[in-house]
Amino acid sequence: MRNEFAAELNEIAAEDERVVLLSGDIGNRLFDKYKDRFPERFYNCGVAEANMMSVAAGMAMSGLRPITYTITPFTTTRCFEQIRVDVCYHNVPVIIVGVGAGLSYAGNGATHHSCEDIALLRMLPNMTVICPGDAWEVRSAMRACLQQNGPAYIRMGKKGEPLVHQGMPEFEIGKGIVMRQGSDVCLLSTGNMLPNVLQAADELSKQGVSAQVVSFHTVKPLDGELLAQAFSQFGLVATIEEHSIIGGLGGAVAEWLSDRAPQKARLLRIGVADKFLHEAGEQEYAREYFGLTPEAIAHKTFQMYQTIAPQPVTA
């Protein structure tokens, strides 16, 4: 996703002279073209994320459209108070872009994992939280956030994730994108889980379960209309995210659900368990560890579907 982010950035900066990029000393070579074209609108803020976030807020207060960019935990949890006070309290249009959502940088250890950021940022008034499902959604999200006039967080994966869209999708903040129709269960995927969730739907199909898949890219504001439909139409709605089981998409949907009369569907939350991963291993290993592979997602969904299915299902 990050290469497409850089490519799209070049285009939007050419179209909108208010766009300024602030990097936390990462993206070596990634922004070479941008820096060549817009040297006065690129700032390497060093390894000083608190300062970077407040600088961005000051720029936004002065009519610019700053975009901050560094590794996810460092542009979210590290400078949380700067986001809260300078960006959200003042309600100014800073676009915070994190690279390395969830377990993308698993091999770097838990310091580089980011499984708490959705929970923290969606709690902040005025903040929009978007977790794009592929590089096309990254491009769309950047454009959509620029159209807004308030704080936004875009939670990207890393590079080289499979593309699931064929081009720029119909993208609207707060509106999930139905990727695949189904009739038995509804899988709400947010962020870089989308390719795995589509594969999980294939697995479920082999087991006789028809799964609808939604790219639920916006965690805040929630797509209440889509949720209302899903919880009344299906017997089971699952949320899938590379984020803690506490407070992310699953948590947000559980809150939504608890405010309503009992719905037809049960909720299954699939995410990262409430613990740190201490071992070495890349993203694939970490996904296996936490049960986020297509097979594990399909298995958990199938297990619960069996308990509520109108007729017994046999795999």
Partner: protein, 271 residues
């Protein structure tokens, strides 16, 4: 520049600050009195800003980063004509626009909501860079406390601004030698403060923060031709202007009673 007029204005504002603290029963009086002269020198002697056009994109900006001393900012802005005195009198009342720490755009002239220390300088850098990018010639003044320099983010900002050669940025440190619960030099090793800023790449000045002429002369001289951001270490006295409050840190939290208010006003030549 009529320095005597500025000094009289500062005395009047000090009297108002003491009244506000008494009436609303709010803390931080000592901190408010130590930075009063800094704000008077800035608003009456330096800043290019029209109180009736306080959103003009070309205005000089003053960020009041030590938000706990909000009464000084409010009383100064009201005295300078940014908003009516009647509004000032609602300070800290339930539903008032004027909370104990300045909230977002609560009244004209408040550039930044502060109260959490260590934010103002970085936001000021953002504003100063925006001015450069947009080819505007305004300057950004950030008033900070010495206790605020405990915050690590201040030193992130202190390293960043000189790297960007931001000569339209000024950090003014209200060095009153106290923070909430003790001597600021004993809690953190602030000393030597001027040398610290100098070592970080700032063009530094050290002055008596109650010497109105020195303040105005220094503030007006920004940019100072060095190509660097300017740091002014202003030596001040916490509780300045009232003999029984000066350099007594009990007045970080204490609220004056009616008798003390009257005594203070006599000392300030207001009655």
């Amino acid at each position: 520049m009529d320095i005597a007029h500025l000094e009289a204005t500062a005395r009047k504002i000090r009297g108002k600050i003491i009244e506000l603290s008494h009436k609303a029963r709010t803390a931080h009086l000592g901190s408010s009195l130590s930075c009063t002269d800094l704000l008077v020198a800035a608003y009456w002697g330096t800043l290019k800003i029209d109180p009736k056009d306080s959103e003009n994109p070309d205005r000089d900006r003053l960020i009041f980063s030590k938000g706990h001393a909000a009464t000084t900012l409010y009383a100064t802005l009201a005295e300078a004509g940014f908003f009516p005195q009647e509004l000032l009198d609602t300070y800290a009342e339930p539903g008032s626009k004027l909370p104990e720490h300045p909230s977002v755009k609560c009244v004209p002239g408040v550039e930044l909501a502060t109260g959490s220390l260590g934010h103002g300088l970085s936001v000021g850098i953002g504003m100063a860079l925006a001015g450069r990018i947009q080819k505007r010639s305004y300057r950004v003044f950030v008033v900070m406390s010495d206790g605020e320099c405990n915050e690590g983010s201040v030193w992130e900002a202190a390293m960043f601004a000189p790297a960007q050669k931001l000569d339209n940025l000024v950090a003014i440190i209200d060095y009153n030698k106290w923070q909430a619960t003790g001597r600021s030099n004993e809690i953190m090793a602030l000393h030597p403060l001027k040398e610290k800023w100098e070592a970080f790449g700032w063009s530094t000045y050290e002055l008596d923060g109650h010497d109105m002429k020195a303040l105005v002369d220094t503030l007006r001289n920004v940019p100072d031709g060095s190509g660097k951001p300017v740091a002014i270490v202003a030596h001040t006295v916490k509780g300045k202007g009232v003999s029984f409050m000066e350099d007594d840190n009990n007045w970080h939290y204490r609220v004056p009673n009616a008798e003390e208010v009257e005594k203070a006003k006599v000392e300030l030549q207001l009655v």
